[in-house]
């Protein structure tokens, strides 16, 4: 059993600031970490490693600083970490990223039965790279997996969460799943894991190493552009009952619950 985990480095912040002129994210001065949602993907892979002797490879594309982030995945228990880094990759959109990652898998002969990735990265929030990567490799995809049910010789059973329902799927391997937080609880690195990782090697490849052409990569290989990024504000109509009005508030809530038909309208 061979598992490939796709990971991304992201700025270590929960307040993403956008440059109002260029529409790109301001990354200066921020430390980098592995995308927190990818940690859930890695954790699931590590659990399968423990229960089914799987071999876990982590693959990432990003600047050189990603090496530290990938070393952390080795500290947690990954067997192999591969970084694709080159100035030619800079400015990649989701298409160029998926293309580069999938080409690396083909050209480096990275073997896999199951690919796991986080549902999205906390910086770009597109959630597209996993799906595009699977299409380029021509393997089936299940997105938003909330629970891993079982692993069989040539298939897996997973549960995915949609807005209205849970769906249970059995899919043939090789396949890709993108996972939600609930799929696993990421572990902490141990001291011995950290110490061992210091002497382990992160494999690093450039565009040239992979034999890729510059016009298919980075900004020039990206058919899409971010035109505008803005924060949406969710507004809710709140009514507050307190003190003397508390009982009326309780009656209102009971009435609302009684009339609630669920979000699935038949």
């Amino acid at each position: 059993m061979k598992i490939l985990v796709l990971a991304k480095q992201v700025p270590d912040t929960d307040k993403v600031k956008i440059d109002p002129v260029t529409g790109t994210m301001i990354r200066e001065g921020l430390d980098v970490v592995i995308n927190p949602l990818d940690l859930h993907a890695l954790e699931l892979a590590l659990c399968l490693k423990e229960s089914h002797q799987a071999l876990v490879t982590v693959l990432s594309m990003g600047p050189m600083s990603t090496e530290t982030v990938l070393r952390d995945t080795l500290a947690l228990g990954a067997d192999r970490a591969i970084l694709l880094t080159d100035s030619a990759f800079a400015g990649s959109d989701t298409w160029a990223t998926s293309y580069t990652l999938s080409e690396a898998v083909k050209r480096l002969n990275i073997d896999y039965d199951l690919v796991i990735c986080g549902e999205k990265a906390t910086d770009g929030e597109t959630g597209q790279v996993g799906v595009e990567f699977a299409i380029l490799l021509n393997i089936p995809v299940i997105t938003y997996v909330s629970k891993f049910i079982s692993l069989h010789d040539d298939s897996i059973v997973v549960e995915r969460t949609t807005e209205d329902a849970y769906e249970r799927w059995k899919i043939k391997l090789p396949a890709l799943i993108s996972v939600l937080r609930s799929v696993s609880e990421p572990r902490l690195a141990t001291l011995s894991g950290k110490k061992q990782a210091l002497s382990r090697k992160v494999e690093i490849y450039s565009a040239k190493d992979l034999g890729l052409k510059a016009d298919e990569l980075g900004l020039s290989g990206s058919p899409t552009r971010v035109v505008k990024v803005y924060n949406t504000k969710l507004s809710r109509n709140c009514r507050i009952y307190m003190g003397k009005d508390l009982n009326q508030g309780v009656r209102e809530v009971v009435k609302l619950l009684k009339n609630y038909k669920g979000s699935v309208q038949r």
Partner: protein, 473 residues
């Protein structure tokens, strides 16, 4: 309190800023101290500036009305409970950050600002406010100063007092005074700032605070270490401090019971949850390489001293998760074991093992349950006695009194103090004489009398009340 006085108060702060209806004043009858009975005020007065505070205090003085100052109401010694009725003076609306002076590395704030807001602002500019009580998300800075709050970083940075450079205070008689400023050094007469810090709202109302900021340490790591037994864990604290060559920002203890409660409260778990106890260490560094060297060195030391494993969190998410777990213990206790008594004793670090050992004996002897958590790195342990579900309220009252007397005697024998950071308030005042001589208590009382001749300000706190000058209103 008669209508004329209410009218005068309304003329000072505005009609709508004096509340007297039960529905509106009820929540001002208590704070977060579980073992002290609530007590209703006659009125809650919301002030917005020092001048209003001054005028309210003048009225209160004239009519000898008790005044209980209150910030966010998160205190743990009953300090904000109006035990004598009268006025609750709420500083909630004095919640402005007045000035961020980066060149002098200070921030000037009103007392009602939630401490985390100061932290967030400082961090945006690469600075750091080093006073960080575990309640920083909900407590206000005025309360932190009035109680000299501690928290999880005292080991390296000291309590709130270490970070206060200046104060504006309204004296109980209504005069507005200023001590200190934006300078680090100041020996102009008595250290009046330190007198007001930790005075629990008995000597004056703090209306402006000048706080010191320091550059934010860029890198930090949290080490989570389970131990098979409490003895091994707590014995290693003094050894780590003396022998590792590293001064951690924090060394925190969670015994198995505390871990269970926090886990249940958050519906989350930590590794090796069944271990007898966990210690949390936080260390800071200027760069990643030296941080790595430091946590390896500290981690190896801990393994030599018997840690079952050393888990390392060196990114923000993981660190926050561990701290959230630690900080949820108190909330978990309030949620699941509302009948409890959370203590705050503090002893010299070498004697922590003796203190903690004694708590289990005391609990067993008095048929109550106990859990221990807190800031073992600085000797401050939140020994918390819990009422067993089968015990009657009456028996619990007796049992807890005996537990406290025994705990305090052990603490006093170890040359410790009854409270490290929560204060005396109304909760611990009757036990003060276990720790202080009559002369020592009298010395403090004389200061109180000199500043508050009519004994109106938080009159029922710290000292056992002997004054007849304050009427029950």
């Amino acid at each position: 309190m008669n209508e004329t006085i209410i009218k005068r108060l309304r003329s000072i702060v505005g009609y709508e800023n004096v509340k007297t209806d039960y529905d509106e004043v009820e929540r001002y009858s208590k704070d977060e101290t579980s073992s002290v009975e609530p007590s209703l005020p006659s009125a809650v007065v919301f002030v917005t500036n020092a001048q209003q505070v001054s005028e309210v205090l003048k009225v209160a003085n004239q009519h000898k009305i008790p005044v209980t100052p209150r910030g966010a109401g998160t205190g743990l010694s009953g300090g904000a409970i109006p035990t004598k009725g009268g006025i609750v003076l709420s500083l909630e609306r004095m919640n402005h950050i007045l000035e961020l002076d980066l060149e002098n590395m200070v921030v000037v704030v009103e007392p009602g600002v939630i401490t985390d807001e100061i932290q967030k602002l400082a961090e945006e500019h690469g600075f750091f406010y080093a006073g960080d009580p575990a309640s920083s998300e909900s407590s206000s800075i005025g309360g932190n100063v009035a109680e000299n709050a501690g928290g999880v970083k005292v080991l390296k940075y000291g309590p709130t007092a270490f970070h206060v450079l200046g104060l504006e205070v309204v004296l109980p008689t209504g005069e507005i005074v200023n001590f200190g400023g934006k300078m680090m050094k100041n020996v102009m007469g008595y250290d009046m700032i330190r007198l007001f810090i930790g005075s629990e709202g008995t000597l004056g109302i703090i209306t402006k605070i000048i706080l010191r900021l320091i550059p934010k340490p860029k890198y930090s790591a949290v080490l989570l270490t389970p131990f098979k037994d409490m003895e091994t864990a707590i014995s290693c604290v003094p050894k780590v401090l003396c022998e590792s060559g590293i001064l951690p920002t924090s060394i925190e203890l969670m015994d198995r019971f505390s871990v269970e409660i926090s886990s249940k409260f958050l519906n989350e778990s930590i590794p090796q949850q069944d271990a007898d106890c966990h210690l949390i260490f936080e260390i800071e560094s200027l760069d990643r390489e030296s941080l790595t060297r430091a946590y390896i060195s500290l981690g190896e030391k801990l393994q030599q001293l018997g840690a079952l494993e050393v888990y390392i969190a060196d990114n923000r998410h993981q660190k926050m998760k561990i701290w959230k777990f630690r900080k949820a213990i108190a909330e978990g206790i309030i949620a699941f074991r509302p009948k409890h008594c959370m203590e705050d004793v503090s002893v010299p670090i070498k004697t922590i093992p003796k203190l903690i050992r004694s708590t289990y004996d005391i609990a067993r002897k008095n048929h109550v349950e106990v859990l221990n958590f807190g800031h073992v790195g600085d000797g401050n342990v939140h020994v918390t006695f819990l009422k067993p579900e089968t015990m009657s309220d009456e028996l619990w009252k007796k049992a807890i009194h005996n537990c406290l007397i025994e705990l305090y005697r052990v603490t006093a024998d170890l040359n410790g103090t009854v409270s490290g950071e929560h204060g005396i308030g109304v909760k611990r005042k009757d036990y003060l004489d276990i720790f202080l001589t009559q002369v020592e208590i009298e010395t403090m009382r004389k200061i109180k009398q000199a500043l508050d001749p009519n004994n109106i300000l938080n009159a029922d706190k710290i000292f056992p009340d002997t004054s007849a000058s304050v009427r029950q209103i």
